[in-house]
Each structure stands twice: as structure tokens, then as C-alpha cells.
């Protein structure tokens, strides 16, 4: 298995490293610049503003660097030659592990650098606090009261940012898994690479229409204004759970109903 993991990493390393560096630079630059037009109270808010566009396209970032390879291996029938060298299950498992973990690393590292840029690299924000603490009467940041996990966000911004980056990495890995499952059964690279993005857009639209906004995967990815006291933590897990259900559905549909084979026959 170690050989296979190394092999898959060799195949994907340049697109993954390229995306990692580009995304890290983009997140850091956006975090270090966009906040200037806003009136902010905490440094980490600069990161939230900086990544607002990245949040929108994260399903594409999660998939494009990693999910193209299986398409080519199937299209070019390269898989024939692997059959006498390794079992199907092992080969596909190794591929999935590298795809999901690479996608996780890209998102986690880039977002973590954004957090570090917001907290330690860009100039400090000098806040003007207008909200008063009802008990002490002292000025307090609005985010402490209204932000998702406000107290943790205000008092432990580094830990908050790194934990959220980790979670964003996991969501990225889930969508990369969706792209990977598409690549196992679909012979259209456009559908493979944009399918997870389209899924997220459609999920977003349907849940908005049904007035179930807190359950969207976009909210789970960037829960800055999510009211945990009102909705609890479960809705934040719904987006990824729905995505996992959809992955299972896609897998069963192509494998059991349409009987599409991964390997050429």
C-alpha cells in the first residue's frame, strides 16, 4: 500500500503543489488587502473577508487539482496494465486516499496561512468598540456576542482559525471524494471537474428555497454569522452529511443500477 500511495502522490504532486502555492498566496494577499475597506473589530475578521470569494469556489479548488487523473487512466485504458500488477480494490483505495488527503492539505494549509496573515502579518486593526457589556458596562467586540463561537473567536483567534481551516480541509476532502466517484464512472472530464461545484450550487439553491439556510454546506464551510445558540451544531453537519449521502447515491446508481465498470471490459 505504501508503494501505491507514493506512486499516486508522484502522479499528482505537481498539480497539488501548484494549487497549494497559488491558493496560499491568493488567500494571504486577499486577507492582507481586502479588509481595508471594512470597519473591523478583530484581526481574524480580515481572514473571513479575504476568503469570501474562495468560499464560493471551494468545490472547484477541492476537485480540479486531484480528480483529472482517474479520468485519463480510464479514458486511455491505462488501468488494463495495472490489473496484472495490483488488485483493483487496493489501487482504487490508494488513489482515493491520495485524492482526498491532497485536497484536504491544499485547503487546510492555504486557509491556515490566511489565518496567520490576518493575525501576525498584516497591520493590527485598531477597533472602535460601540457595544457595551451588559454586566460590566465595558466596551466589547460585537463579534463576541454575534459571531459563531464568539468567545472562542475573540479570545483564541489562532486556535479558532486553525480549527476552522482543519474543518474546511475535511469538507474539501469530501467534495474531492465526490469528484473521485464521478471520475470512476463518468467519461466526461467537464462533468467530473465541475460536478461537485454544481452539486453545491444546486444544494444551496434547494435549501435556500426550502428556507433551510443553516443546513447548507457553504454555511458549514464558513459559519461566521451562523447562530449556534438558535440552531445548535447539528445543521453544520448536515451539509457534509448530505454530500456523503449524495456520494453514496452516485456510487450505487452507477455501479448497481447502470452497471458501469471502472475498469475497461
Amino acid at each position: 500500500m505504501k508503494n501505491l500511495l507514493l506512486l499516486e502522490w508522484t502522479k499528482l504532486k505537481w498539480p497539488v503543489l501548484g494549487t497549494l502555492i497559488t491558493l496560499t498566496l491568493a488567500v494571504s494577499i486577499l486577507t492582507g488587502t481586502l479588509y481595508r475597506d471594512y470597519s473591523l473589530e478583530k484581526d481574524l475578521e480580515a481572514w473571513e473577508i479575504g476568503i469570501s470569494f474562495i468560499v464560493f469556489i471551494f468545490p472547484i479548488i477541492a476537485v480540479i487539482p486531484v480528480c483529472w487523473l482517474m479520468y485519463y487512466e480510464r479514458k486511455d485504458k491505462f488501468l488494463w496494465y495495472t490489473l496484472t500488477r495490483v488488485s483493483k480494490g487496493q489501487y482504487i483505495l490508494a488513489k482515493w486516499i491520495v485524492v482526498a488527503s491532497s485536497s484536504f492539505v491544499i485547503m487546510f494549509v492555504a486557509m491556515s496561512f490566511g489565518v496567520i496573515t490576518a493575525l501576525y502579518i498584516k497591520p493590527d486593526i485598531i477597533p472602535k468598540l460601540y457595544l457595551l457589556d451588559s454586566i460590566t458596562g465595558q466596551p466589547m467586540p460585537r463579534s463576541e456576542k454575534y459571531h459563531f463561537m464568539g468567545s472562542f473567536f475573540v479570545h483564541h483567534p489562532l486556535r479558532y482559525g486553525l480549527l476552522l481551516s482543519f474543518w474546511q480541509g475535511i469538507l474539501s476532502a469530501i467534495l474531492a471524494t465526490l469528484g473521485f466517484v464521478f471520475s470512476l464512472y463518468i467519461r466526461n472530464i467537464f462533468v467530473i471537474l465541475t460536478g461537485p461545484f454544481i452539486y453545491v450550487i444546486v444544494e444551496n439553491f434547494i435549501l435556500n428555497t426550502l428556507n433551510l439556510k443553516p443546513y447548507r454546506i457553504y454555511i458549514s464551510f464558513n459559519p461566521d454569522s451562523y447562530n449556534v445558540k438558535r440552531f445548535g451544531t447539528f445543521p453544520l453537519l448536515c451539509g457534509p452529511l448530505l454530500a456523503l449521502l449524495f456520494i453514496t447515491f452516485v456510487y450505487i446508481y452507477y455501479r448497481k443500477i447502470k452497471k458501469v465498470t471502472v475498469y475497461p471490459s
Binding site: 508503494n3 501505491l4 506512486l7 496484472t84 500488477r85 475497461p264
Partner: protein, 230 residues
């Protein structure tokens, strides 16, 4: 010693029989050829021997191990099935490296040597997509031999080659034969295999039979300019 034993294999697709009760025994170190028209079932038989598709009836034994029971795929078997299949955006060397790195029992030197044996330049950076058909065939053979596989299953290795490449590949086959490899080859052209193989079979109507002098006279008329079956 029998290396490959095809025991009563039958296969149908959508109710149409492609192979019917095929029996074939291949001894170690022999070169066996199968001729047959396009669509006669040669490739299907090869895919069954390689474990890529399962037969409807019968069994395949490779070195006395039954496919699908003792092993899923034969070990130490070099395979060239259909047209050579590579990731088109990478160079030939990189494709072979990807395959060799699955087991990591050979290094880059062995890959380069296999490419040189078949007459390919391992340093060529050209993508496989831009290779000629002859280069792809040679790369397919390099892939089949690079790990020192001692059974070679080569489906149509002479397909659509120019005269020079045809001769090059025939030369490679003769060298492999001299190295005592067990080889199973197909062609739709009888002459491709006649000088190479110890035993020749013909496959038609789903049946496999040894190509006797009588059958040769029947199917491959010498007066014809071509000895191709179809």
C-alpha cells in the same frame, strides 16, 4: 510443465457465443500463436486468460493456480491487450515508471533497458499521444517485458506496423523466444506468426483448432498476394 491451461472455456456476449469449449495447454518456454479474423474472439480469449473478464464456463490455470479462485490475476505475466493503453499526456518513460512503481521491484535502469531493447529512446520527452502506432506497440512490449515477466500474452503485436517496425518487433520476439519465455501471440495474419511460433492455432466460429498443413492450405492460399485471413 504446463504454464497455462485453458480448460473448456466458453463465453457469450448478449446471447451470442464468442468462444465455445476452448481447450488449450501451453508448455513452459513454448511460443504459441493464434490466428483468426477480426472479431473471431482472440482478444476475448486473451482477456479471459489474463483474468480481465470471467468465462461463462470453464477454468483457466496459470502455473496450476486457478484464476478467480486461487488468484485474481496471473503473476509475472506481461500483457499487451488491444491497442497499447497509456496515459496520453505523459511520456513513454513516465508511463512505464508509473507501472513499475506499483510493485517497485525494478528501478529506472531496468525501465530504460526495456525501452532500449524495443528501440525506443527513454529520454524522449514526447507525450504518448504524439507517438506513432509503431512506437506505441513497442512501448506496449517494453511494458510487458520490463519486469522480467516470464509469460507474455501479446495480442496483435504486429498490428498496423510499417515494414521497418514490423521487422524490429519480430526481432524482439525472436530474442524473447531465445530467452525461453512462454509466449502466446495473436494475429489475423498467418505469416506474422508462422516463423515465430512452435504451435499455431486458428480460431473461428468460436472454436479453436490446431493449424494443420491442410488448414493452412485451405485458409491461406499461397497464390494470393496476401496471407491474411480477412
Amino acid at each position: 510443465m504446463t504454464e497455462i491451461n485453458v480448460a473448456g472455456v466458453s463465453k457469450s456476449f448478449h446471447g451470442l457465443p464468442v468462444l465455445t469449449n476452448i481447450h488449450l495447454e501451453i508448455e513452459k518456454g513454448t511460443t504459441v500463436g493464434i490466428v483468426g479474423a477480426n472479431g473471431s474472439g482472440k482478444s476475448v480469449l486473451f482477456k479471459i486468460i489474463c483474468g480481465f473478464i470471467a468465462p461463462d464456463q470453464g477454468s483457466i490455470y496459470v502455473r496450476n493456480k486457478q484464476l478467480g479462485k486461487d488468484i485474481d490475476f496471473p503473476e509475472h505475466m506481461g500483457v499487451l491487450i488491444d491497442s497499447p493503453a497509456y496515459i496520453s499526456i505523459y511520456s513513454g518513460f513516465k508511463n512505464l515508471k508509473f507501472l513499475a512503481d506499483i510493485k517497485r521491484n525494478i528501478g529506472t535502469d531496468e525501465i530504460r533497458e526495456a525501452m532500449r531493447i524495443v528501440g525506443l529512446d527513454p529520454d524522449l520527452k514526447t507525450r504518448v499521444a504524439d507517438y506513432s502506432l509503431g512506437m506505441k506497440q513497442k512501448l506496449g512490449i517494453a511494458q510487458a517485458i520490463m519486469e522480467g515477466q516470464d509469460i507474455l500474452i501479446l495480442d496483435e503485436p504486429f498490428n498496423a506496423l510499417d515494414y521497418q517496425t514490423y521487422n524490429d518487433i519480430k526481432e524482439i520476439m525472436l530474442r524473447l523466444k531465445a530467452e525461453n519465455k512462454t509466449m502466446l501471440l495473436t494475429s489475423h495474419n498467418y505469416e506474422d506468426l508462422d516463423s515465430l511460433c512452435d504451435v499455431l492455432y486458428i480460431i473461428q466460429g468460436g472454436h479453436l483448432e490446431q493449424l494443420t498443413e491442410e488448414l493452412k492450405r485451405k485458409y491461406f492460399r499461397r497464390e494470393s498476394s496476401s496471407t491474411s485471413l480477412y
